[in-house]
Symmetry: C2
Subunit: 331 residues, 2 copies
């Protein structure tokens, strides 16, 4: 992307739903180059505060049929006349060299649907970087007038928190499992779910899926319901992405919860809190980044951390020593 990109023109094209402009805009916000960053910030201001899409966070470990779900669910929504964007937060994409969504053939039909837009996760070594860029991609998609933005991630824990902090709803996709395998749900993730969907409720697995769903429903009842949510949430349902069973019900539950929260003012409040959260995160992260750019500080930091891990220094003492030179420079 050249330094001479006409940002205002790009913004207008995005707002009018130009898909190539949308792709370029997202490439821009995902770029790590300093000059691109400046253009990205300019673009985001130019796009401004636009229409709000329903942001759905979706998590599911590999093998639960996430791609099949997104394909079936997305096609159902576009068939309802909704425009759907699919973004991914995949911290592993940097390592694996390609995001879980990189292989669009896994959602061939949806990828070809003019009312759908699928974007792989930006390759980043840091989850923080992925988070910031995906957040900005969500803003771009909202500016482009999408009705639903699906933000998917793999079930690795930290990335769920990131996705939950940029979504209006959090959906957890699970596979039917026997008693012991149920332990597979990573600590803390179930607590974020507004809706648990037990997939593969078809063929031989149907009965098992129903049992698994009941188990999770029981577990969800042990969790405190979120303030302002209607009775019965969080919920667990069985679906079959393959046979397109239960997706309509799942969507209705999401829509019910979303509009309830919107009417209760909870959605606006959540988005405000999320914005504050990301602002604080960006300040913290940016601050540490400033120091990471200082080799002398990095050396002191590593030395101190080694001493701390070895029990030679208390964390407090070591931190005080590391911060001393910075205090002097800031004064």
């Amino acid at each position: 992307m050249s330094k001479t990109t006409d940002i205002p023109a790009l913004a207008v094209k995005v707002q009018t739903g130009d898909r190539r402009a949308l792709a370029r805009a997202i490439t821009l916000v995902e770029s790590g180059r300093a000059d691109h960053r400046d253009q990205a910030l300019a673009l985001l201001s130019a796009l401004g505060h636009t229409k709000e899409a329903l942001r759905i966070g979706l998590s599911g470990t590999p093998g639960v049929g996430k791609s099949t779900f997104i394909e079936s669910f997305g096609l159902m929504l576009t068939a309802m006349g909704k425009r759907v964007a699919v973004l991914a937060v995949d911290p592993s994409s940097a390592r694996s060299g390609g995001s879980i969504l990189g292989d669009k053939t896994r959602m061939e039909q949806l990828a070809r649907d003019p009312n759908a837009f699928i974007r792989p996760s930006p390759s980043q070594t840091q989850l923080g970087g992925v988070a910031r860029h995906t957040r900005e991609a969500v803003a771009v998609c909202e500016a482009a007038g999408f009705d639903v933005v699906l933000i998917e991630t793999v079930g690795v824990g930290q990335s769920e928190t990131v996705v939950a902090q940029m979504a209006d709803l959090f959906v957890l996709l699970l596979a039917p499992a026997g008693g012991d395998e149920l332990q597979g749900v990573k600590r803390g993730i179930m607590e974020m779910a507004d809706l648990i969907l037990v997939n593969k409720a078809d063929g031989d697995l149907k009965a098992q899926a129903t049992r698994t769903c009941a188990d999770y429903a029981g577990a969800l009842r042990l969790l405190r319901k979120r303030a302002q949510d209607p009775e019965g949430f969080p919920k667990a349902l069985t679906i079959s992405a393959l046979e397109v069973e239960g997706l309509q019900t799942a969507w209705e539950e999401m829509a019910t919860l979303a509009s309830w929260r919107q009417n209760a003012g909870a959605r606006a409040q959540t988005r405000q809190e999320q914005a504050r959260y990301w602002f604080a995160e960006d300040v913290r992260h940016g601050l540490l980044q400033l120091l990471q750019d200082d080799p002398a500080h990095v050396a002191r930091l590593q030395q101190a951390e080694t001493a701390v891990a070895a029990g030679l220094k208390t964390p407090t003492l070591a931190a005080a020593e590391v911060l001393d030179p910075i205090r002097r420079r800031l004064q």
Copy 2:
């Protein structure tokens, strides 16, 4: 505490188990005064890397009988010849003007026991401050040769994370409850528990306690077991702190898990990770503190946050603007 405190002498007295010296040492590490902070850091270095106590994190919402449990459990341990220190992390203590442990009459016998030491939570407006001071109090207690350090907190969520990050084991104390009340467990807290103790398994509540325990045991089975832990953990047990029932078994479970982790090298590893965690936290917190001391920065920060919350600026853009002057000063 005078500026002329003889730190080396105080350290020696603490190490020889002088209770008044211990109390003074903890007062010193809890003090917010800059000159006290320097003395506290000197004291911690003088105490050095000493004997390791078993650090047990304990959480329970008001009304579950936490004080009664600590009294009965503590007296059982001292009767076994163990020296027990009880510390509290209570972020509310600053507001309520007195910690949950402030009223020692609630554990009258234990408070009088020469082999026990009970310390209320330091009054701090910030949980971060409470955390640092409690962490240092734990170190002082280990230097004083205690066998068990019980770190208790109220069931408010964030403070549990803090306690879990300074404990070898995390115990969650719950009361018998009917189906719906079970929702009372705060999201995420159950996930930290190595052991859930359902208290009040006595009199009319005994049957209900057994049912509640079974419910939680079922919920715990849905959670992935921690690596390196023996089969069956996390566990749920019923106890009666009042009738001193099941406390022996609870202690045996804790001891089993603790020694298993120690033999597996998991405890040393956890403590290293905790030390790294707190070091990073102290650096982050100290860094932000440095900036909090700069009125111009604070004003910029608040202005930016307002704009972000109002949706007038993206978090990224606002953060970049706030960090710009700091970048210049650090260069």
